[in-house]
Amino acid sequence: MSESEKPVCLKSYMRLCAVVFVVVLCTTSAMIATSFSHLGDGWTLKVTLILAIAVVNAFLVAGYLMHLLSEKKLIYTVLAFTVFFFIGLMGLTVWATNGFPPGTVSH
């Protein structure tokens, strides 16, 4: 049985939402702190850390607010295909970043 089919207690949902909001507040603060901190010269480490925190944030929303932690197998199947194609899209993007056509002039 998925989460949305179980009997609902409004008070327990309010508690869950309060916890989720506090964590979102903390993760957002952590992202901002990371962005303004001095972590080396470049942006690579900062971007990696900030996106990692954003993934935690996204997991909370998807897992608890969208009930993805307890969904039906068919939904997971749809999402598995989505993840596969999304990774393919981003993989092609990374692959293309170094694929300049012959004769390209760099500024």
């Binding site: 957002t28 303004f36 929303v61």
Partner: protein
């Protein structure tokens, strides 16, 4: 004719039709935004060294919008939970909160857009700022100002820099220390001028595209939620279970819109 499986689960899928439909739609949305994020990555890594902007967007406003959307996602979930326990009054209260939060988000976004569209960069050819770039917010212009005809003057509140690269990183100590003042330039001295709209550079182009598309999703979602809030009472009386499922489906869309913002905020405002 009755639409099948609006409440009952289909034996083969195990869920009602609208739920499978919204998840398939969200999957397509992931690829839509994924394509634009892919474009962002290509534009960013392809930018000349030192020419990708940092600190151009207001982090405080972005943070407020992040929290507004997180709160609206929570009130959406609580509105659905209220339907599940058959408390229509609480549903109305929670969804009213969602609508207000969404409208506030859009109001802040409009303010941010206005800020960018009234922010100008002027390449000066002659006069006291010859060879410099004047950057700042529009203050006023003379009645006869016409850039094409080269008549009149324009006044910005900002500062002048020697190298355009100095305008890219607004978090740098130099940019933070820059003194902003009112600068008046004659149209005859202007070589090139433009606001920070989508045409300004690749950053503003992808910023307006990504946030504009996201704002359209917010607007669409708000309209749907408003419809259920204002006119949902009739279905609630006749078929509360079906109405609850509609709220769940619209809620899933709303959470997805929140998810997109969770990545837009750090990518555009913080990095």
């Amino acid at each position: 004719m009755e639409i099948p499986y609006t409440v009952q689960h289909r034996p083969d899928t195990g869920i009602y039709n609208a739920k499978l439909g919204i998840w398939l739609f969200l999957a397509s949305e992931v690829m839509l935004f994924g394509g634009l994020f892919s474009a962002y990555v290509l534009l960013r890594v392809g930018a000349e060294p030192g020419m990708w902007p940092h600190g151009w967007l207001n982090v405080t406003l972005g943070t407020v919008n992040t929290l507004l959307l997180a709160l609206s996602a929570i009130t959406t979930l609580l509105a659905w939970a209220a339907c599940k326990v058959r408390d229509f009054t609480k549903f109305k209260i929670f969804h009213a909160c969602t609508i207000l939060l969404a409208l506030t988000f859009l109001g802040i976004k409009t303010y941010e857009y206005r800020d960018k569209l009234t922010h100008y960069e002027i390449a000066v050819a002659s006069g006291p700022y010859a060879g410099k770039f004047v950057d700042g917010h529009f203050k006023e212009q003379s009645a006869d100002f016409d850039f094409a005809k080269k008549t009149g003057t324009i006044t910005l509140h900002g500062h002048a820099v020697e190298d355009r690269k100095e305008l890219m990183d607004l978090r740098s100590p130099e940019a933070q220390a820059a003194k902003h003042e009112e600068i008046t330039i004659a149209a005859t001295d202007i070589k090139k001028m433009g606001n920070y709209g989508p045409r300004h550079n690749t950053f503003t182009a992808i910023y307006f595209t990504l946030t504009g598309l996201h704002a359209l999703h917010i607007l669409g979602g708000t309209l749907v939620i408003f419809y259920f809030w204002a006119f949902g009472g009739a279905m609630w009386k006749t078929d509360p279970e079906r109405f609850t499922n509609r709220i769940e489906v619209s809620g899933l869309f709303w959470h997805f819109v929140d998810l997109v913002w969770i990545f837009l905020f750090p990518v555009l405002y913080l990095t």
